[in-house]
């Protein structure tokens, strides 16, 4: 099923913020912004919750920590041989390996979490995407019903959009 949306292109940040506020007050439907730089204030306006990537980082770090200990202790027990007069389970040196594995797995899980949550990688950019939005323009996309399209277009123009575009989603 095809949905409908309108994208407004803004040259100024203040106009974008005003349009976001207006769209929120007007209960226009799902809203998203597209911008060349991160806009944490707009995310706050949109009531975005903290990114769950942190949970992936924590899960990865804990996994790495356990893998590091399991690898070192497990291998020592699997083939019990005393080397250099050191104890079979030499916890201090094994801790070095566990520490490195913590960082390695934490990083890998962080990137995986980012890709999963940001819905990347994608073969193609989404419909209606415009190259100006990685350059020097801010975009506000409002998902709406077919009947609301014209009203939303007008409203975005009122808030200072330079241009509005209808996009199927």
């Amino acid at each position: 099923m095809t949905g409908h949306s309108v994208i407004g292109f803004f040259a100024g940040y203040e106009s974008l913020v005003a349009a976001v506020k207006g769209a929120l007050e007007g209960r226009c439907g799902e809203i998203r912004t597209i911008s060349p730089i991160p806009l944490p204030e707009v995310n706050e306006l949109l009531g975005a919750r903290p990114s769950p990537v942190r949970r992936f980082t924590l899960a990865g770090a804990l996994t790495g920590f356990l893998v590091g200990w399991a690898l070192t202790i497990g291998s020592a027990q699997h083939y019990p041989i005393i080397v250099g007069g050191k104890p079979l389970l030499s916890l201090t040196p094994f801790g070095v390996v566990a520490y490195i594995c913590t960082i390695l797995f934490g990083s890998l899980f962080t990137v995986a979490g980012m890709l999963l949550n940001a819905r990347l990688p994608r073969i193609q950019v989404g419909r209606g995407y415009d190259p100006r939005l990685t350059g020097n323009r801010f975009g506000l996309q409002v998902i709406c019903s077919e009947q609301e399209v014209e009203a939303i277009k007008r409203r975005l123009l009122d808030y200072g959009a330079e241009e509005v575009k209808y996009v199927e989603v």
């Binding site: 040259a11 100024g12 203040e14 998203r32 597209i34 911008s35 060349p36 730089i37 991160p38 806009l39 944490p40 707009v42 949109l46 975005a48 903290p50 990114s51 990537v53 942190r54 980082t57 770090a61 690898l71 070192t72 291998s75 020592a76 699997h78 083939y79 041989i81 080397v83 030499s90 040196p93 094994f94 390996v97 490195i100 594995c101 960082i103 390695l104 990083s107 890998l108 962080t110 990137v111 979490g113 980012m114 890709l115 949550n117 940001a118 819905r119 990347l120 990688p121 994608r122 073969i123 193609q124 950019v125 989404g126 995407y129 939005l133 990685t134 350059g135 020097n136 323009r137 200072g160």
Partner: protein, 447 residues
Amino acid sequence: MGNSATLRRRLPTYTTVDADLVKTMRPARRPYYLALLCLAAVAAWGGYAWSVQLRTGLGVAGISSPVGWGFYITTFVFWVGIAHSGTLISAVLFLFRVRWRAAIYRSAEAVTVFAVMTAGLFPLIHLGRPWVAYWLMPYKQMGGLFPNFRSPLVWDVFAVSTYFTVSALFFFTGMVPDLAIVRDRSQGWREKVYGFLAQGWQGTNLQWKHYTAAYVFLAGLATPLVISVHSIVSWDFAMSINPGWHTAIFPPYFVAGAIHSGLAMVATIVIPMRRLFGLETFITREHLASMAKFMIMTGMVLGYSYCVEFFIAWYSNNPYERDLFFYRAFGDYAWALWLLVGCNVLAPSLFFIQRVRYSTPWLIGISLLVNVGMFYERFVIIVTSLGRSFDPFMWSVYVPRWPEVSILAGSLAFFFLLFLLFAKVFPVVSMWEVKELLPLPSKEHRA
């Protein structure tokens, strides 16, 4: 604040940022290809020297008992040290919100990734039989035996490979929004290639939210690596009982040295790049002066470490330590010790003079001296301690032979070759982070 003020004064628009930085990726002219060719030739010569060593055996190199670690391990430690600047500038300075990093961190990260790649070759070159290097990997080998996790050499495998993985992830992740910018300004096959690399990035609020969160966590995870990787490399030495090696100061001493050499290499690369690509607006003299100030600090830490090493050798009353340090200062390699003190401590202290700090010829000259000094620092640590150990019967003087010198030259060429390729294929300055430093465009002041 002065740096951002400079950027604001000279970079009024987002459009200029994109246009000026994408311009650096335009097809190159003849001198660029000539430079590539020369570097490829030197790298190939290094490859030939290695092939001779492989066919003939390690005997063609100067390393032999007791100096089993000569130029190869010196060069390995040198390159791992060089790699430290990238993570310091990109991750540590990011966490401290140091604004001048935005202009240079991409190049510094590239230095890190390429330096670790170069460093990774040297344990293989050093092995008599590099085709069995996979024995170092943590898997169940013949008879169920695993590598010895109590050995610092195995920690090193873990540390350096993790450092490479995390640095490469950080490097590539940081570049994704810029790759999307390049995609949007390219056509034909370039658009397809950059489109693939940009992974469909659009810059939606959802993508930015997860991206910035991941970036902070990656920076947080990479930061301890700046400290730990070279600490672990230093344990390759400090865990043994050799005079000159068995000392607790090694980890901080190595980390400071790594950052010192890394900053010097970044300056060595960034200054000519800034000139060739016309990036003076983005990489200002303020940025270079900030790096110089950092090098004053690392140089002073190194100077302190050198003094402490000698003091502890004297204060310990251990005859082996005392003799070794006396030998370092006045023996066969005394020239190298005094050279490294001059290059690493005295030369960067010239940066106390403001005129020197802001002069690019001085900056590049001193950075080159630091690069030389840092190589000899590792050389002196490794070679003097092995060649002058406990038993006088075993004492010897190490002299590198042509394959070792050729492979060192080849590694330098390989590194610069990778950087030259990077500079033409990827944006050398982070566009989205430079834009972040600019004031947000308003209606009156249109982007």
